[in-house]
Symmetry: C2
Subunit: 222 residues, 2 copies
């Protein structure tokens, strides 16, 4: 599961396009411009080709790739990863990290299948210590944070913190209802905060919190 590409640096970004949910054309174009490589999970390659984008790599079982799409992708771009125990998005994130990417953006990871969407969220948690993986869906960006995060946005943006297990020492500034060393547990305590300035700062002492940043005026970008 290694990619035949030149060595990237830590600051370069990989864009992963999964097959689980709608991705707007404008958003896809902007994210594609920012990214150094664009990776499709298996069947998502067809989605990209239909929009005139040839993915640099296609990762997965390759059983969802239709013959027409397959014929248009160079063999060297096909990364066959047959592990039945893991989904293609999981493999694509791992491949990106193996290639040295520490900033990874995922689109198409939230959709109609709730089991897939929740699995995507659990993948953010799984890889939180290894890379900055952000999940983008429209104007919402979701990340799992174990140490600190600067959220860049606008006053009025909505920020929610969701704990799936206890999180200690949570400090959040730049919002209407700041936190100072709080313990968050599963529940609704952290939902629907509001940014009061262009930047909010989050720090955590231990545990992992899922952050949802919903931009009020444009696409969000923590």
């Amino acid at each position: 599961m290694s990619l035949p590409a030149p060595e990237p640096t830590d600051l370069q970004e990989a864009l992963i396009v999964a097959n689980g949910g709608r991705v707007g054309s404008g958003l896809l174009r902007r994210l594609h411009q920012q990214a150094r490589v664009i990776i499709a999970t298996d069947g998502a390659a067809s989605r990209l080709l239909r929009r005139g984008i040839t993915p640099d790599f296609v990762v997965g079982d390759l059983d969802s790739l239709d013959p027409e799409a397959r014929s248009r992708i160079p063999a060297a771009s096909l990364v066959y990863a047959p592990d039945q125990d893991r989904c293609d998005l999981d493999k694509a994130i791992e491949v990106s990290i193996e290639r040295g990417f520490r900033h990874i953006t995922v689109v198409g990871g939230l959709g109609r299948r709730w089991d897939h969407s929740l699995t995507t969220i659990s993948l953010l948690i799984a890889y939180a210590d290894k890379a900055r993986v952000r999940l983008v869906r429209g104007s919402t960006v979701i990340m799992a944070v174990t140490d600190r995060l600067t959220i860049s946005g606008s006053a009025g943006d909505r920020v929610s913190l969701i704990a799936f297990a206890p999180v200690q020492g949570v400090t959040l500034t730049g919002v209407a209802w700041p936190l100072n060393g709080a313990t968050l547990r599963p529940g609704s305590q952290g939902v629907s905060n509001r940014m009061t300035q262009a930047v909010a700062e989050l720090t955590i002492e231990s545990g992992c919190v899922v952050v949802c940043h919903h931009a009020s005026r444009r696409e969000a970008r923590p």
Copy 2:
């Protein structure tokens, strides 16, 4: 936050209708018939009244309840719960448990707002030890399990286990890819299993796993 109703027994079910996602009329009718009480979170009361159902209780800040709906609900049914730190669904589950209900079904808890939907999932985890709280969305039922669960369905139904923190001693039978004392961590290991018979059995030694049961032929009911 106590409800002025007769004492229920453990086997009686409370149905909570939240305001966060679409609820089909047929599903709502069936769940309503099964439940002993039907509780609306604040603004969801209007949704119920439009379908000809008067909720037994309305729980929340009561600031989302439009005047017309308010005029049609007896004052004794309004449970004012003004805690700004928690969402109305959280309060409605707590009120149900305080009244002795140990089987709680939630509809309308998954919708377009990802922060709300993920908070709903974290509420399942928060209350997993206190009651059987199941979240129903169409043909999918989601529960958080800390001990054991019997999943009643049909061969071919999809069952996914999602861990947001490590879960030890996970045993799952009656499925195509059974587990025997496995450790599940955040990631995609547990997604998209298939039931091979009408019943699947899940047991867990420690931790909390989120179970998604998607019925292939009818509404799911773990």
